[in-house]
């Protein structure tokens, strides 16, 4: 709190336009690798558990049990207990609930069980939610609620799974890639859903800018209702934009007209994202970070102030801070920014078509972890790259966004999350496009905890990092 006041005061004194903890206003305010984070930058990944099969995400139940829940792509959820043991029997097994076979489509490496989220009152109601690619629905994204039997807290049997299933939402997926994935309750108790643009490349549906489709969006719904799948939070930006009304032509201001969007979906929270496979809330401030996977040239991390919906993050007009499609060196072409800029971005090996190869600071697919507020880190959003194994940190130093590479590892990160103490957790898998041997046969992945290097306990297994 003190920090925030201090920042505001400085900004006011300087009369500057660069307000801390806001999305950049200009392209040169978007942070790139090479910055300097305030606080600790010497981090290590400490192994918590191994032997996980294509782990795709991780979270906790917030019920004081200390359990960590890891989603495995095939459709299972594994529990890692307080002592780091992986319980043998899965917490949930979606491969076993349908007599005709698995309920989960894993045919393409981006498909499978994406994530699990526990209701804020899970300890009382036993509700948890999963998002997965459905096999019976040809890869459509299913968001389903199940209810734990208090007598069997660590295993939801197939019968129990079927009995308690409540389908919240089905998101039609035209293609097998860019399915989004993350679902998570915000500090406001609403369920946020990361929904990809539907796939192929270049957003053939123009989904990102189309308010009539749930694709290419962050969605926000209120699941606290029993009579229907969910309610629309009244403060969603388009909650009423498409409601039926009589037409009035006169006496209406420009701004009022602009709020009438007869085809917009009320579930939309923000739009113009490509594949928000991962996003996270800062446990301290409630601010949101979205790791939006880029196409061929730039990866981006979006900062969104807590509760600040309605933003257009640009896709497919923009890739990170550049106009899309890129046809050459952006420095040599005109581009008017569409929408809100990301807080940070980093390039692929080729930063634009025809650019010389440069593997320094580069990657190919950003996978968000979470915000660290411990070990000397203060509001540092951590994200890893699926290709280069780099871990980056993003934070605001009170003046501007700083983005810094912290370590480079030999791992392919898939996602991150928190344990009950808000330590940032990370999972890595060993699956990749062409040699995917199937979610149960790829070499297993692991679960890691991000720590300040000085806090690593003796004897811990630490991820190898590049010299």
């Amino acid at each position: 709190m003190f920090r925030i006041i201090a920042i505001c005061t400085t900004a006011a004194l300087m009369g500057t336009t660069v307000l801390a903890q806001e999305a950049p206003k200009t392209v040169d305010q978007v942070a790139r690798p090479g910055g300097t984070l305030p606080g600790t930058t010497d981090i290590a990944l400490v192994q918590v558990a191994s032997g996980l099969l294509d782990p795709t995400n991780v979270t906790n139940a917030g019920d004081g049990s200390g359990r960590i829940f890891v989603t495995e792509r095939a459709g299972r959820v594994k529990i890692i207990d307080k002592d780091g043991n992986v319980l043998e029997e899965p917490f949930l097994d979606l491969t076993a609930i349908n007599p005709l076979g698995s309920d989960v489509q894993t045919g393409f490496v981006e498909q499978g069980l994406y994530s699990i989220a526990f209701h804020p009152k899970f300890a009382e109601n036993g509700y948890f939610y999963v998002h997965y690619a459905s096999l019976p629905f040809n890869g459509d994204g299913m968001i389903v609620r199940f209810t734990v039997d208090p007598a069997s807290p660590d295993v939801v049997s197939p019968e129990r799974t079927n009995e308690t299933a409540k389908v919240i939402m089905r998101i039609e997926q035209p293609w097998y890639n860019h399915n989004g994935g993350q679902i998570e309750f915000g500090p406001d108790g609403m369920l946020y859903i990361g929904s990809g643009d539907g796939g192929w490349e270049g957003d053939p549906y123009e989904a990102g800018q189309d308010l009539s489709t749930p694709l290419g969006k962050i969605l926000r719904i209120d699941v606290d209702t029993e009579d229907r799948p969910y309610n629309i939070p009244s403060d969603n930006p388009y909650a009423d934009a498409s409601s039926e009304r009589l037409m009035q032509l006169f006496g209406i201001t420009e701004e009022q007209f602009s709020k009438i969007k007869t085809r917009s979906l009320p579930e939309i929270w923000s739009y113009g994202v490509r594949n928000p496979y991962e996003f996270a809330f800062d446990p301290k401030t409630g601010n949101m970070f979205i790791a939006d996977v880029g196409q061929n040239h730039w990866e981006e991390i979006i900062f969104e102030k807590a509760g600040d919906g309605g933003h257009n993050y640009g896709w497919p007009r923009m890739e990170a801070a550049f106009c899309q499609p890129m046809t050459g060196d952006p420095a040599e072409s005109e581009c008017s920014v569409v929408g809100t800029l990301p807080a940070a971005m980093y390039p692929h090996n080729t930063a634009y078509p025809g650019a010389p190869e440069d593997t320094k600071n580069a990657g190919c697919s950003v996978q968000g972890f979470g915000v660290a507020n411990y070990g000397g880190m203060d509001g540092v959003y951590l994200a890893g790259d699926w290709c280069s194994g780099r871990v980056f940190g993003l934070a605001n130093d009170g003046q501007s966004w700083q983005f810094q590479e912290l370590i480079q590892t030999g791992m392919q990160f898939t996602a991150g999350g928190y344990d009950e103490d808000n330590n940032v957790l990370v999972v890595n898998a060993n699956n990749f496009y062409l040699a995917d041997q199937g979610p149960d046969t790829n070499p297993p992945g692991s679960l890691w905890r991000v720590m300040a290097a000085s806090d690593v306990p003796d004897g811990a297994t630490v991820a190898k990092v590049s010299k």
Binding site: N349, E357, G363, C387, G389, G410, M411, K467
Partner: protein
Amino acid sequence: MYFSRYLIPSIVAASMATLSAGVAIAESHTTTVEKTGDVPADVEFENGKVVFRAALDDSPLKFDLKPDQTLTPQVEEFYKTGLNPYSGDPEAIKAGNKSYQKLCQSCHLKDGGGRIGPSLNDNKWEGSRTHTQVGRFEIIYGGGAGAMQAFGRRVEQDEILKIMAFIDTLRPEK
């Protein structure tokens, strides 16, 4: 160009599979043996064998990725010389091409132009050791950063040497 015709029978050397150069290093002095021929000066030898290191952090490379691996004479030869016996061998290059198209092209592209992984068809190596056959073997067998997985988990070392022979043909200057 280095061609070999092996007359010795195939040896399945289980003990070789656990060869760990690093342990030896810790116990004795490492000497960098200058050799004539194609072996770059920065390939280290120890007790007549190449010292292999992990591409990521230079730690000793452990050959334990596949529990029951078969070491062909070509692999044994490579351990001793640091030179790929399959270099320039048309049969091996053909086989290597096939494996490359299956395992590698998703990231390095068909022609080695590079995308997720760096280009393999220019005259530049990104890694500190990948300019040598030994360095290339190290990163393919034991993995590098991020998506460059340890292919020693998936294929035999002999196949890796064949893939390397193929990769060599992608470069303008071999």
